[in-house]
Point group: C2
Chain length 112, copies 2
């Protein structure tokens, strides 16, 4: 079965806005965390908060919970503003090891 545009470039994903289903902008995608062996994108890292790019935090979002919404011209994550405020995050200067324990905790937060 032929499929058109079945791929998207990482350049296009990076910088794309992320919303919740209400249309509240949560932030934008800073970069992607890719499983080294399988090449699977595990997380899109959401950049949010701070001022003029200074002091922004990073929120790993499991790829599976992102849906692209053409109407919003961005991704939608099905969580509330309160849920994103309590979500796992780190500052850009303190990127954690994405080991099994960390990945499991992030996945659990998003219901996976």
């Amino acid at each position: 079965m032929a499929s058109i545009n079945s791929v998207i470039s990482s350049d296009r994903v990076e910088g794309t806005d992320v919303y919740n289903p209400n249309g509240d902008k949560l932030g934008s995608i800073d970069d992607l965390m890719i499983d080294k062996i399988s090449g699977q994108v595990r997380y899109a890292v959401l950049e949010f908060g701070g001022f003029l790019g200074i002091g922004t935090d990073r929120y790993p979002i499991p790829w599976n919970v992102l849906t692209y919404d053409p109407g919003f011209e961005g991704y939608v994550v099905p969580i509330s503003q309160e849920q994103i405020e309590g979500a796992p995050r780190y500052s850009s200067e303190a990127v954690p090891e994405y080991d099994d324990a960390y990945s499991t905790s992030v996945n659990r937060y998003y219901g996976l």
Copy 2:
């Protein structure tokens, strides 16, 4: 089984040098082509040729044929200089549809 640093960020992959097994530098990774539904990285797009970044061509390399080599501080693709010169490519202004036909032709070139 705990695994440390089992992920790599797309920011780190982009710009990484790519070599053949002889240590000849083929180019560097420009960006990644990601399957929209599964989130699987299908291709690393190699940037090569041109002068001062002008006129460079893009060579999609299946993720599966890239191996990171700490000695080279870059990725290794197990093909010869002649093979890369004959490899599927496009100019940055003429990115093709990555449909099944195109993907199949690229994968076949790399023996997949």
